[in-house]
Subunit: 252 residues, 2 copies
Amino acid sequence: MHSNIDKKINSSLSVDSVIFGFDGKSLKVLLVERTTSINGREVKDYKLPGRMIFENESLDISAAKIFHTMTGDRIISPKQFRIFSDPERVSKEELKWINKFHGINTDRVVTVGYYGLVKLNMSLIAYTREQGAHWEQIDNITHLAMDHKEILRTALSTLQRDVAQSPIAFHMLPKKFTIRQLQTLFSAILGIEIDNRNFRKKILNLPFIKATGEKEKNVKHKPAEYYTFKERAFKRAEKAKQNLRFINNWSY
Amino acid sequence: MHSNIDKKINSSLSVDSVIFGFDGKSLKVLLVERTTSINGREVKDYKLPGRMIFENESLDISAAKIFHTMTGDRIISPKQFRIFSDPERVSKEELKWINKFHGINTDRVVTVGYYGLVKLNMSLIAYTREQGAHWEQIDNITHLAMDHKEILRTALSTLQRDVAQSPIAFHMLPKKFTIRQLQTLFSAILGIEIDNRNFRKKILNLPFIKATGEKEKNVKHKPAEYYTFKERAFKRAEKAKQNLRFINNWSY
DNA sequence: TATCTTAGCGTAAATAATGCACTAAATATT
DNA sequence: AATATTTAGTGCATTATTTACGCTAAGATA
């Protein structure tokens, strides 16, 4: 139970991060490879990036460090979404792996899930590749190490809720984006089809989405205009409104 | 760092519970008294009910136990809403109190916040009084022990969001309630005024709120009719709907 | 019978959501 | 130069929801 470095590492608490990105088509998540030895044979699978916390750091800081390590300075403040504390959440085998990997000796690890959104551009892809991580399309993930599949599932449904609650989706798009990109992103996150005309109408009516006047270049079709999200204007709009609509959300 | 009972208690993790109730007028929360000795003098203040977790229990179970202890079997499954993990979240003085109170010896406790909703009736009030706890009106709370005020604040804003998202508010009302009670409850939780006519119209249109035919008795005014929330009908309605409204919520 | 108190109803106007089909602007192909 | 291909972008009519607002109804009490 007592590791010899327990003055530093808190051996019962870890942080796992679900880092979402959008490649223009579908929603992706950052995974790292893990090698376990089962019956003497080496087996590879994937896990979410994570780490144990130190005694003198908060979970938010710990999560921020993961984000920093994995994505450089492309940090969007990660958000805590749930703790996974089932004493049986990892098998005995996997616990051995954890203890070995982190140099600890515990028989239980409670983990805290964070998710964050990043702009998945060339530069980030190159960077994450250097960290030994890769971006996997969410629909394609059938299995992850430990209970990470469940952590991912929970992160996604939290994201689906949050994205409808506040304008965080923009963090996954370039500063200047087309309405079509935004629509595709919403479709990908929520897993629903969205009518383009109605979506445009809605978005363009929002006081905090502004046309830049710039257009796409070198595309083999009518170039789309770029828009930006105006933080200030959003904050202003946010204060102004209040209605009974809360009850409508019950029918989600 | 090592307590002699660390095979049982996980000395770095606790659970604190925010238990909300509604007395017909305002939103209340369950508090327990705490006695600390500062400079040799005994000082009393209030805190949220909480406990350390045991090594072999999940946080959900631990929270459920608090609920059970404090409210008997009047349990509505408590919901985890955030971890408070700032290494400085409790002062050195307060840490001493925690160590003494729980019989542990640690220099850091991370706590997990849960909130839950109960029906605040005579029977519950009597029960909680036996547990040495009391119900305090939220607006009246200016200070709580440790960082419990912040935990309470966070719980409340989570509740405000959740109550708009799913029909959990009914857990704070008797099985049979009047529309006016429901309205007052929403007002109290959200801290807003609600137009009675529009509220009624909205509520009565919902397919999962049914009139019972029964009315209030012994009231010195026109008796209101009692309604109930129909879980099944809600589940059915929930599946049926999907729209673009998600973006409107941005203007909250 | 009047008064007090809270329940409960209705309607018009404004705003938002939905469903649906065509035109516009660029590149690529012939 | 004409045509094809591809995605951007627009309009309108219908329906649903929200908002604002003032009066009547039913019981208890004096």
